[in-house]
Amino acid sequence: MLIQTMTSLGIPELIAQLIYALLVAFLCVNFIAVYAGVISVVERRVAAKMQSRVGPNRVGPQGSLQWLADGIKLILKEDLIPDGADHFLFKLAPFLMAMGVAGTFAVIPWGPANSAASDMNVGILYLISITSLVVIASLMAGWASNNKWSLIGGMRSAAMIVSYEIPVALGLLPAILIAGSLNMGDLVSAQGWAPWDWIAFNNPFALLGFLLFVTGSVAESNRTPFDLTEAESELVAGYATEYSGFRFAVYTLAEFANTWVVGAVCAAVFLGAGQLPPLLEGSIPLSVAVFVGKTMFMVFVLMWFRWTLPRFRIDQMMEFSWKYMLPLSLVAFLGQAVYFLWTWESEVARIMVSHLMVLVFLGLFFYFLSRTMVNFKHQAVAVNSYKTEIDYLERMGILKPVEAVVVAEEEEGKE
Amino acid sequence: MEQKSIFEALQSKTQLPLEWVEDAYGPKLKIAPQDLVAVLTLLKNDSALGFDCLTNQTGSHMDPVIRLYYVLYSYLHHHELVVFCEVPVGAPVVNSVVGLFGGANWLERETFDLLGVKFTGHPDLTRIMLPEDWVGHPLRKDYVYVQEYNGIDNRPSEITKSFQPS
């Protein structure tokens, strides 16, 4: 649309496209920076909540400006490059990393169908391939740092992303089969507003594909339980060990921006994107809000994983990918194809299956909630039975005098 | 098993000179340093005694000798025995018992580090607590505190001196 306006004003089409691309890139990169900053604070607050802590709450209301302080601090830090490092590769690696993540924003939709920056007909394929740039970046960083921990981190990263790429791509295939297209816009418009119209609940194989995609994406974005590349207690900080200042900030930005990519792809491909009920059809802000809500829910799920689970070991992780996820993703793909043949004629069967899926999923969700309720009950006991604040006041002598001294004197007096 | 019967059982099984030393806290077995490995092997391998663990090993500088303590424990019979031998300070050399008790490895290294006893046959007799280039063995009674180590001034300051009991 913008390009059309510009060409009608007499600007050559090539230049118009260039201006459009630069504008979109500018917006995306700024969105990444702001989103990564905000989500880093959110993650720290969420983690703190899960761990009975307070978290950052000093800078701005409820710590909401903490990310600005962190960013300014990181930029002001000295830019260190180790002596034996390969300077060129060392400097190049963070940019490749940022490119790999920022590139995906070209095809990620923002709500309604056809809202992606580029309406590419091979959108999904492009997305999978551009994220692989991260492998080169982390391997490069690990090698160029001239540090053995970095090297191990880079190697692990390469091995991990290469093996999880396959289940991730295969996990997307059921969705592609259902939509019959690699285009993001087509994938979005193949779904409806209600959960039983989403691809994730279309049939069991699509749900399997969804779960495989989420698991694989967690691994690809280097988060616990698959954060072996930067396993703090093992490899210090993995390939980012030797980085400091703004270069380190770029890694952090890329990592947090990756959560958006994962969440957005989940929402767009599997969870009905920003599709609205027929009554509200056409309201773009509402559609965007729905989409962002779904994305943030997926981001929250990723945080949940991270702060609950311990970490895999490298061999267990590879085993998990090649022995379990790869066969399962093939099952999902083939099963989807067979399911299609089977229900080709019967619209009713398809509708029944998808409704049943939603019901089962809801049942599982409430079962899970009932199990977690035990934790809340225990938490309540903790707060009631042990009154820390009151004890503290007692100790400080605010509530009533400390009895210990009195007892000791009494007993001595009796003798 | 009672301490007394341990001694009697041991005496009946070997011709080596054994001495039963009583102090305020019970009896201890004194042996000659050259018999150390032989006696400890016997204590470990005999089924009635069954001392399968060297639970503590250390030394004490008592001029003109260094007394080496070996505390044995039996997880089979739940009894303990303190064995000691004395080596001269001038040539503190004794056979290592690492071959008998794996745990002796680090205990002997510590004794070597802090008291300067040389254990022949030890696989890796290096300093464990102190740096490799440290001079002297601090737990000896005649140890002189170093005044300077690799450029670090270690002399007591005026404040420290003022706190020292006269």
Binding site: - | Y25, S60, V82
Partner: protein
């Protein structure tokens, strides 16, 4: 034949500044990729000459230094030393003091095990259990602070008794805490102990069989993890432990083989449960009365040598004390659990992954100050 590729092992320096070598321990490891071929621990970064200090200060004056021997379980470290000196002097400790010692000792054992378990979980990537367990430890610190006014280095147990009596409602507060704590431990079990990933990381890892554990002089939970049912509190009872009823948990290979990392972890979990048991009984049995036995101001134990072992959280602490009848020890040697646990690492490390080595250190519960003294 193809060309012979020349390969060599990579030497990596792990520590002393490394996130998972608790405190300052250094490992020089030779690896083939991620697999360890040789692991040489380098200790001594926290050596504070505590044994030499014992020859300079008088007998009572050494008690605060024992706090620093193991600062995660100072109560037990105090107790081990005071118990040894009391054995030398033949001091009678009042009954109330004995019960107070058992109570603070068991509370401290729980808090020490919480750190051990939490640190293990953190090293395996689970950050939340560590923080949650530290929160529980804070409550115990509160209780111990009520008893003696300190939160880390207590200097509470003195030769002949304890230094202060506890506040009047202290035992009830301990009881309230235990009510809450049992539920919290259940929560912790659900969060980490039954977690499949955690179990897979710990089970069948770095197996230390029974004979090897005794050979290498492992003590305490590490020894019991290898299946040796030995607890000084039961086999050579001291204090009021003979009157108390408790189990000695041993490793049974609950998820893998006997003596693997998960067994050691599990034994610690079970020991916390037993400590709760002991504390409950103590609350009921706590007698009134004196808290300090009759000890002279200047102690001069008779000449001779004594070896006393006391059960502490990181295995038993063996005090070998030689007295020459003067006001300070002639020679005092502390054999700690971490020291012997550390010496087994070079023997079991080959063949493990780098990540496994961290799990192994965590499961052996090695703490640098106790190791180096």
């Amino acid at each position: 034949m193809g060309k012979q590729l020349r390969t060599e092992l990579m030497t990596i320096n792990m520590g002393p500044q490394h996130p998972s070598t608790h405190g300052v321990i250094r490992f020089i490891i030779k690896t083939d990729g991620e697999v360890i071929h040789e692991c040489q621990p380098d200790v001594g970064y926290l050596h504070r000459s505590i044994e030499k200090i014992s020859e300079k200060v008088n007998w009572q004056g050494f008690v605060p230094f024992t706090d620093r021997v193991d600062y995660l379980a100072s109560m037990n470290a105090n107790w081990a030393y005071c118990f040894a000196v009391e054995r030398m002097l033949g001091t009678e400790v009042p009954r109330r003091a004995e019960f107070l010692r058992v109570m603070v000792g068991e509370l401290n054992r729980i808090s020490s095990h919480l750190i051990a378990i939490g640190a293990t979980a953190m090293d395996l990537g689970g950050f939340t259990p560590f923080i949650q367990l530290l929160r529980e430890r804070e409550y115990i610190n509160d209780l111990l602070e009520m008893a003696c006014g300190a939160r880390l280095t207590y200097n509470y147990i003195s030769i002949g008794g304890v230094n202060y009596d506890v506040p009047r409602n202290w035992t009830e507060k301990v009881g309230e805490f235990l009510e809450h704590f049992e539920l919290a431990m259940e929560q912790m079990n659900r969060l980490i102990s039954y977690n499949r990933i955690f179990i897979n990381r710990m089970a069948n890892l770095a197996v230390i069989p029974r004979e090897m554990a005794i050979q290498y002089n492992l003590v305490g939970p590490n020894l019991r993890g290898s299946g040796v049912k030995f607890d000084l509190r039961r086999d050579h009872p001291y204090s009021v432990y003979p009157e108390l009823d408790f189990e000695v948990p041993v490793g049974v290979g609950i998820e893998g083989q006997v003596g693997d990392c998960y067994d050691r972890y599990h034994v610690r979990m079970m020991e916390i449960r037993e400590s709760i048991n002991i504390l409950r009984q103590c609350i009921k049995m706590m007698p009134p009365g004196e808290i300090q036995g009759k000890v002279k101001n200047v102690i001069k134990p008779p000449e001779g040598t004594i070896h006393v072992r006391t059960e502490t959280p990181r295995g038993d602490t063996g005090y070998l004390i030689q007295s020459d009848g003067k006001t300070s020890a002639y020679r005092l040697k502390i054999r700690t659990g971490s020291f012997t646990a550390m010496s087994v690492i070079p023997a079991v490390a080959p063949g493990l992954f780098i990540a496994d080595l961290i799990a192994l250190i965590g499961s052996l519960d090695v703490v640098a100050p106790e190791l180096d003294r």
